[in-house]
Every structure is written in C-alpha cells, then in structure tokens.
C-alpha cells in the first residue's frame, strides 16, 4: 500500500462518514422534537389513567432513583388529597424499568403501570402483563415483597422472569413507596421536595 493509497482510503472513509453523519443529524433534527412532544403527551395521558377520578394532579417534587430523574404528584379530589402518584425506576436484567405507581392517601397501592423498559423481548416484557400488575392493587408497602411461590399476600414472581419481577417489585415500587413515606412524614428534609401547604396533615 502506497502513501497515495492511504490518503485515498482516508478521504474516502471520511467523506462517506460525514455524509452518513449529516443524514442522521437531519433525521434526528426532524424527529426528536416530535418524539419529545409525544413522550410528554403520553406521560400526561398515563397520569390521567393512573387516577381517572382526579380533579387535579399536582407535582409535589422530583427524586432520583438510580440517578434518574423522576417526579411525584399529589392527586386531589374535592379539594382534599385523594392519593399520590410516583414515578420510579427499577434496575432490571438489561435496562431500567420505568414505572408509575398510584396510591391512595394511606399509601396503599391503587395500581401500577410499566411506562418503558428494554428487558428481554418475549420474556422480561411479561412484567407488562395485567396478571402481574394487578397483584399490586391494595398492597401496602410492607406487603410489596417478591416471593416465588403462589401467594395473594405478597407479589408472585413470573416464572423465568425473576430478575425483572424483582426489579419492578422491590427495587422499583417498594423503594418509591418508602421514599414517599419518608417525604410525607418529614417533607422538609427531602431532596428538593416542595411542601404543599397543609394538604396532607
């Protein structure tokens, strides 16, 4: 290979990579605002779905499970606090599982929703199944615990999906509830939590 060849190859490679980069940048510029907007829109719809009877869902503050930004909200009905919604992340098998948890005002779970994840297709994604998510209804933080046997008292792991099930149950939901409990008992010490005047006395 002569020096001339080396220069030719380098120029060839650089030009093609620049073209490729420009095309990708163009597509990204066109699509990313749309993606952001649709993500936000879906977030609002998801919150609405978590508490369909709410008259207002107000943001209470931010928290950072696994150094990721998540938010928590208070659900109001007839001027009183009816419950809470908290977003959380659980460290799964191959991704962080993004979860929404809705509770009543005593932190008993109303329902949970899996917003996004990148677990193994066809196996880990069974955490999205209603039969798994519905187990959380009516559980208080003490009973959000994963067991591998048949149970109605605790949360039953999905066969073959123990890691993802545990991520949702213990790393995600239970930690969120414990955090929320701590915040509600002593809101002043929380990280960036904003105290809503007298709404949960």
């Amino acid at each position: 290979m002569t020096p001339k060849d080396i220069i030719k190859i380098t120029i060839n490679l650089v030009i093609i990579y620049i073209i490729g980069g420009l095309i990708l940048a163009g597509v990204y510029a066109k699509t990313s605002p749309v993606i952001y907007q649709k993500n936000e829109q879906e977030k609002q719809e998801a919150l609405k779905k978590m508490a369909p009877e709410a008259e207002a869902i107000d943001k209470l503050g931010d928290w950072y499970p696994h150094e990721k930004h998540a938010e928590y909200y208070v659900v109001k009905k007839g001027g009183d606090t009816a419950g809470y919604i908290i977003q959380t992340f659980g460290k799964g098998y191959s991704s962080y599982i993004n979860i929404l948890v809705a509770t009543d005002k005593d932190l008993k779970i109303e329902k949970i929703e899996i917003l996004s994840h990148a677990e193994t297709p066809g196996l880990g994604d069974e955490i999205e199944k209603p039969s798994f998510k519905e187990q959380f209804k009516g559980k208080d933080p003490e009973h959000v615990r994963l067991v591998k046997t048949e149970t109605t008292e605790y949360i039953q792991a999905i066969t073959g999906v123990t890691i993802s099930s545990r991520a949702v149950t213990e790393d995600g939901v239970r930690r969120a509830l414990e955090f929320l409990k701590g915040q509600l008992l002593s809101p002043q010490t929380g990280n960036r939590a904003r105290h809503e005047g007298g709404s949960h006395e």
Binding site: L13, G20, S32, E42, G160
Partner: protein
C-alpha cells in the same frame, strides 16, 4: 461467513429466482446458519418473531439497495466499516422515524429494531451479493433474504410459543404450558436444531434437484 457467491450473469438473473433462493436454498437460518443469535433470542413468541422478521426484511432490502448504489465509491479495503455505517444508519433512521411517527408500532417493535445492527446476515448479504451486483438484483436479493429470515423466525416461534406457553400470538390455545423450556434460551437451541435438521432432511429427500448448486 461462507465464501459462496451466486454468480449469475446479470442479464439472465431472474428476480423470482433470487427471492426463492433467499427463502429456500440460502435460507439465512436453516441453510447458511448465520444470525442464529436473534433467531433464538426473539422467537419465544409468534408476534416477536414476526415483528423481528418484518424489521429485518426492511433493513436488509434498504441496505442492499444502498450498498449496490454506492458500490463503485467504496474502496475495497474499507468496505466493512462503510457497510456497518450504512447498516447502523438505516437502523437509526428506522428507529427514530418510527418513534416519532408510528408510536403504536414502535412500542411493539422498538425493542427489536436496534438489535438489527449486530446481525451477521445483513452484513453478509451486503458483502456477498450487493457489493458485486446492480441495484435491482440486490434489491430482490434483499427481499428474498428478508422473507427467508421472516419465514424461519415465524416457523421457529410458532413451535416455541405453542409448546412453551400453549398460546399463539398471545391467544391461549392449550390451557397449560406443555414445555416451558421451549420459551427459554435452551429451548431456542432445541427448536432451531430440530427444525434445521427437518428442513435439511426435506431438502435431501425431495428438493435435491431444485436446489441451486454452487
């Protein structure tokens, strides 16, 4: 990666044969035995196998067209990094476009799209066929290989979901899970191995004369 190259004089290339070649004689999974990793990873339900097959069909066709169109501008010594750029470029374009404009489909397929970057079968076809042929035959080769991959994934996932979960496309058909191992990775190896043997047996017994020999 095999050394085989289909050497058909360009004017005599029949597009239908190219497509059939991709599905039967050079089926990615059952004959060439490449890209077995995704064939095992995503085929534990019929829906997953089908969606992955569709995504591969799209990317394979677009990559083949692009490589064939630019084959004269690519220096042979750096063809592999450039093929990789073309593959990852198309995968990213498909990923971002679907995330923005086809949300429902993206929620189902988003997990799979990004995996395609690492598929040996796409790179193999760019290298073995598209870099040596014109755009039109390359396109039909891409469609053929994509359909062959789709066919293989659908067959594998059909048996794995039916035996492993007793369901098809999420619909419960048998009330129990007859063989749970089939949806786990080990079952993937079993399914691919048994089906590969089955198709080779058919090939040896009935299709001998119709197989393209190199």
């Amino acid at each position: 990666m095999s050394e085989e190259v289909i050497k058909l004089p360009e004017e005599k290339v029949r597009y239908r044969d190219l497509i059939i070649n991709g599905i039967v004689a050079e089926n990615t999974i059952f004959k060439l035995a490449i890209s077995l990793c995704p064939a095992i990873a995503v085929t534990n339900s019929l829906r997953n196998g089908f969606l992955m097959g569709i995504a591969v069909l799209f990317v394979q066709t677009m990559v083949n067209i692009t490589v064939a169109a630019f084959r004269r501008f690519i220096h042979p010594r750096i063809r592999l990094p450039i093929f990789m750029l073309i593959i990852s470029g198309w995968v990213s374009v498909a990923d971002m476009t679907m995330a923005a404009f086809a949300r429902e489909a993206y929620k189902q397929m988003g997990l799979y799209i990004q995996l395609i970057v690492a598929f040996a079968s796409i790179l193999a076809r760019a290298e073995m066929f598209a870099s040596k042929n014109r755009i039109a035959p390359s396109m039909f080769d891409g469609i053929g290989m994509g359909l062959g991959f789709l066919f293989a994934l659908v067959v594998i996932s059909f048996f794995r979901e039916l035996l492993g979960r007793g369901s098809l496309w999420g619909l419960q058909i048998i009330p129990t899970k007859p063989l749970l191992i089939m949806i786990l990775p080990a079952g993937g190896f079993l399914a691919v191995g048994i089906l590969m043997a089955f198709f080779n047996w058919i090939d040896a017994r009935y299709l001998k004369k119709r197989t393209v020999h190199h």
